[in-house]
């Protein structure tokens, strides 16, 4: 909302300075967006007279002027304007002046070998309009030597405030003035003093306009008055200046009157050219398929939920949002119908949303205009038209009624301290509220407060507190400590939050860098990962459209970007959600940790030689460490080769696996990315294998915070011993199976079994593999005797043999 200081002062009688006013605007909830005085840029420009205008010796189209700007000796100015002539009074910028339009600073210059000092300016050069046909011509009696900004009344700061959606009353300058007055900045002038042409209804004569509302829900009240025999033309200078000052282009006096009243009083109006209407006007619901060419030049298709104003032939107005082109006023208009209606805010909002059409009228009706201001609003408009366009008025037609029933709130003034935390004396509260227009019956507590018709937002006692607090000054609220719970602060993080913190910090400790990637990805990126269940209807771009079913697409894209930037080694992880649909149509969001490893695992090095690429076993190490930190039971984890439960087709079928608790519960998937998937993300063979993993944290059973006490334990008195076994196995046998079999051979004594060598080649038959396993044996009551050791060894060999493993000699 923009207005000028002088405009505000039309309504507000005040001596307050500009700064006091703008500070107060922010303090009462009308946040200052900016103040700009157009005169600031025009200070050096003066009213000046052309004393002489002669030909330029070296150019036909240039004139040589002597200009008196009241400063002493006349200036010599070379000027190309066609209207530059002796006796002209215009606007002069002396040397050293910055000219805002063309954005340069005037310097003494030689133009075609003749010296020129300063410039006579056009409107466009001063950014005061588009006119550049010649230099500005002021009336001959304009006082030479005075500041042009002062002379033209431009020394009027333009103030812009942001009006929150609840403050519908401040969508007019008068509402802002009322708020300022309530806060002690001056007093609000009576409306009749502001509109000297009058604010009472015009009786009129002849036939009243034929208007009615058939849509009492969408348009509860439709008031109208005709003015006949008028002449449309330019708006009076004061009105045009006001509109121009806030960036509105004056169009014609009839249109400008409606714009002015809308901005001044927050009261939108519409004026129809009666010559273009067929019969009376009706506010009704549109018919499906009806169309209207609106004043913005666009055609809108309407439907039966929308309220329109139509005559017998066509729709002329999208009620309360925008008028129609076909019945708009023009210079030839002589007979008009002035509409002052009340449109229902919810209807306006829905229609505006459907048509995706915003307008100053919609903004106001949608927030809710003052339903009690139809009579006066129409009267003010009619009187302005009569004053500036002549003509005669008809009587007023009033169809329907706006919702003006007074609303009351029961309010205990003690509630201000109880909710707002600031103790404002009851008498002061009453005074504030009365200045804002509230009616107070304080004869009993709670008070009965009548809400002014223009405050649709105030519905309850909390709203009353807000009014009192904002006018008192919200910054005056004291600062009171929250009551502290006794004792030491208790832990507040949930087990899931603790789990996330642990895995995040462990991942970083292990050398992985945490990224935060978009939750939405493209269709193309989602496809290899099974596609996404949630697809945005209005994405910001096709790249950010599908809610990710996996963290890998984002990580892969990030990894690729890093490789493209020359990164030699990429270790990225992300901790975030994957998005799925629950059966009931709500969202199922699964907390997941994703990892991508790409580039060199180790760079070439004087000790280790060539650079090493990452392998699936590298990421397995990360996965196991992170699962452990997440609280997964390491001993119960099972390796699974790819199957229908995972890890999925985006993995290399021979270099990927899942870790599970039971056959279906997949805790983590990891391995080498399928080369086709890697290619789809832009990886090239030169980048080497791309290694990825996902830990599905939500599948890991969380341990509730239990007792701090540990299970009793004493280190065994007897030392453990190790025995090595080398087996020849089928090369396809998973080593994990053999280890599990070996461990199971004697559960009482075997505490660990670990593969320490895997060898194929000389001495090992084709299709076979030599696996060497170190078995740890823990004696329980007494040290092992030779017989016992032999028995255990035999059991190990026997268990291994079931998998076709032969003990190597």
């Amino acid at each position: 909302m923009k207005f000028t200081l002088s405009w505000l002062k039309e309504h507000l009688d005040t001596d307050a300075s500009l700064n006091e006013i703008t500070d107060r605007l922010t303090a009462i909830g009308l946040e200052l967006e900016g103040v700009e005085n157009p005169a600031d840029a025009l200070r050096p420009f003066r009213v000046a007279k052309v004393l002489e205008a002669g030909p330029h010796p070296n150019a036909d189209k240039l004139r040589l002027l002597k200009v008196d700007d009241g400063s002493g000796e006349p200036w010599q100015v070379v000027c190309g304007a066609p209207n530059a002539r002796q006796g002209l009074v215009g606007v002069f910028g002396p040397p050293g002046t910055y000219v805002p339009g063309p954005a340069f600073t005037l310097k003494p210059a030689k133009i075609r070998d003749v010296e020129s000092f300063g410039m006579m300016c056009s409107y466009r050069e001063l950014e005061l309009g588009e006119d550049h046909d010649g230099i500005i011509e002021l009336p001959e009696d304009a006082p030479v030597g005075t500041s042009f900004a002062d002379y033209a009344g431009l020394d009027d700061p333009v103030i812009e405030v942001s009006v929150t959606p609840n403050k519908q009353d401040c969508m007019g300058v008068r509402g802002i003035a009322r708020d300022l007055a309530a806060s002690g900045i001056g007093t609000l002038k009576p409306l009749s003093e502001v509109y000297r042409s009058g604010v009472d209804p015009v009786e009129g004569s002849g036939e009243a306009p034929d208007v009615r509302t058939d849509d009492s829900a969408g348009c509860p009240a439709f008031y109208a008055q005709n003015v006949s025999g008028l002449k449309n033309g330019a708006a009076p200078k004061w009105m045009a200046d006001r509109l121009k000052a806030i960036g509105q282009k004056p169009i014609s006096v009839l249109v400008d009157i409606t714009n002015f009243v809308s901005i001044d009083l927050g009261r939108p109006l519409h004026v129809y050219d009666r010559a273009k209407l067929s019969g009376g006007l009706v506010a009704r619901k549109a018919k499906d398929g009806e169309e209207v060419l609106a004043l913005n030049g666009k055609t809108y298709a309407l439907d039966a939920s929308m309220t329109v104003i139509a005559d017998s032939a066509q729709v002329h107005d999208i009620g309360g949002i925008m008028g129609g082109e076909d019945s708009g006023v023009s210079d030839d208009t002589t007979d008009v119908l002035i509409e002052c209606a009340y449109f229902d805010p919810e209807h306006i909002a829905r229609t505006g949303q459907k048509l995706m059409l915003t307008s100053d009228a919609r903004q106001r009706f949608e927030r809710g205009v003052d339903p009690a201001f139809l009579e006066q609003g129409l009267a003010i408009a009619t009187r302005l038209v009569l004053e500036h366009c002549g003509g005669t008025a008809s009587p007023v037609t009033r169809s329907g009624a706006a919702p003006v029933e007074p609303r009351t709130v029961a309010y205990d003034p003690a509630y201000c301290a109880a909710l707002g935390g600031i103790d404002v004396p009851a008498s002061e509260q009453q005074a504030i509220l009365e200045r804002l227009g509230f009616g107070i019956d304080s004869s009993a507590t709670p008070w009965t407060i009548t809400v002014p018709s223009w405050r649709r937002d105030v519905a309850g006692k909390a709203d009353i507190v807000e009014e009192v607090v904002r006018i008192t000054g919200i910054d005056a609220i004291p600062s009171t400590p929250l009551p502290r719970l006794p004792g030491v602060a208790r832990p507040t993080a949930s087990p899931a939050q603790l789990q996330e913190r642990r895995v995040r910090r462990l991942a970083a400790a292990r050398g992985l860098n945490e990224a935060v990637n978009w939750s939405f990805i493209s269709d193309k990126e989602a496809a290899p990962f099974g596609g996404g269940g949630w697809v945005l209807a209005n994405p910001i771009s096709e790249d950010l459209k599908v809610m990710r079913p996996s963290l890998l697409p984002g990580l892969l894209s990030a990894a690729k970007r890093n490789l493209d930037r020359g990164a030699g080694s990429v270790r990225l992880f992300e901790l975030g959600r994957r998005y799925f649909k629950a059966e009931d149509g709500t969202s199922l969001e699964r907390t997941t940790l994703g990892i991508v490893l790409s580039g060199d695992k180790t760079p070439r090095d004087w000790r280790s030689g060539k650079a090493q690429a990452f392998t699936a076993h590298d990421v397995k190490a990360e996965v196991l460490a992170l699962l452990d930190a997440a609280g997964a039971p390491a001993a119960k984890l099972m390796d699974f080769a790819p199957d229908s439960a995972g890890p999925g087709d985006h993995y290399h079928p021979g270099q990927a696996a899942t870790l599970r608790l039971g056959p279906k519960n997949v805790l983590a998937a990891y391995g080498t990315l399928h080369p086709s998937t890697a290619r789809a993300f832009g990886f090239k063979p030169v980048h080497g294998p791309v290694i990825v993993a996902e830990l599905f944290l939500d599948t890991i059973p969380l341990k509730a915070r239990g007792s701090a006490m540990r299970e009793a334990y004493a280190p065994p008195a007897l030392q453990a011993v190790t025995r090595d076994f080398a087996f020849l196995v089928d090369a396809k046998l998973p080593a994990g199976d053999l280890v599990r079999a070996v461990k199971g051979a004697d559960k009482k004594h075997i505490t660990d079994a670990r593969v320490f060598d895997s060898f194929a080649g000389q001495g090992v038959p084709e299709g076979k593999l030599s696996l060497a396993i170190e078995v740890t044996l823990q004696p329980v009551d007494k040290s092992f005797g030779d017989d016992e050791l032999k028995a255990i060894a035999d059991a190990v060999v026997k268990a291994a043999a079931k998998l076709g493993a032969e003990l190597r000699g």
């Binding site: 946040e31 909710l419 600031i422 502290r484 719970l485 990637n517």
Partner: protein, 363 residues
Amino acid sequence: MADIEQLQQDYLARIATADLAALEDIRIAALGKQGAITGLLKTLGGMSPEERQEQGPRINGAREAVTAAIAARKDALESAALNERLAAEAIDLTLPVAPSPQGSVHPVAQVMDELAEIFADLGFAVATGPEIESGWYNFTALNMPETHPARAMHDTFYFPDTGPDGEPMLLRTHTSPVQIRTMMAQKPPIRIIAPGRTYRSDSDATHTPMFHQVEGLVIDKGITMAHLKWTLETFVRAFFERDDIVLRLRPSYFPFTEPSAEVDVGFTVEKGKRVIGGDPTGPNGGWMEILGSGMVNPKVIEHCGLDPDEWQGFAFGCGIDRLAMLKYGMDDLRAFFDGDLRWLKHYGFSSLDVPTLSGGVGA
């Protein structure tokens, strides 16, 4: 018997220049079973007591002197040999070791941990909620019915789907729906913060379509706006680790709070950068908006099935990415979501930088 002394002198002279092998030969020649000194010792048995009295100490003295000389020489030789070997074993320790990969925690995660720590001290737990929400939780329950003008200001991302409550499914535009879910799920008193991802259809240098917010909610008896003000002051001062931070409340409007206030924080410009704290009214000072807040609207409390005459409280919301930028000095929001390793390593945090009350919440 001058030859005993002579013998000893000869041996000592030979020992002084012997290498290890020669030394062994000398030991055998002098002290071995057939050795010269051993032979002399054997002669003691055939001597008269007087003679033995005289010769015994001389011969034993020679034996001891030679034995000691051999041991000393051996020590010296071995020590020299070891020194020589060690000198040969010298390695160049200026050669580099392979660097350990430098992992990092994202600033957003770090700031969330800092917030959790600061608010835990005030008794706030961390709550979470879904990011794909229904219009009811994101708007309606927060006193923003379908036709509310504020709803249009949210630049909402919608899904074509309708939720089980008949409202459209959307990406939450703020963390405020967690307020609703918390109030519906647990009985007051409530003190929570709810950090998380939020989404608005907006993209420029200071806006990204995805960003992070933290919500705060207190519902109890007798909670007023004065408690809100103290809580925000305490939080901001703890977070930026400065005591000279001043806040300014400005009346504003959020449909879900009443009264509502936007909160500005004072800053000063130091070395061309805005730093939170200092005198905002001084020559290098100013105010910047950092959060929105207010007393929870009684209608919202009612929507959650609580009696607004019994329970009241406050709520606030704040951008986490912005908090991080203001505290740690990043100036481009988009870099947060780019995954550039160089940026992550520079602005990220070590795994060991765990914010704690005793160690400080800043790293």
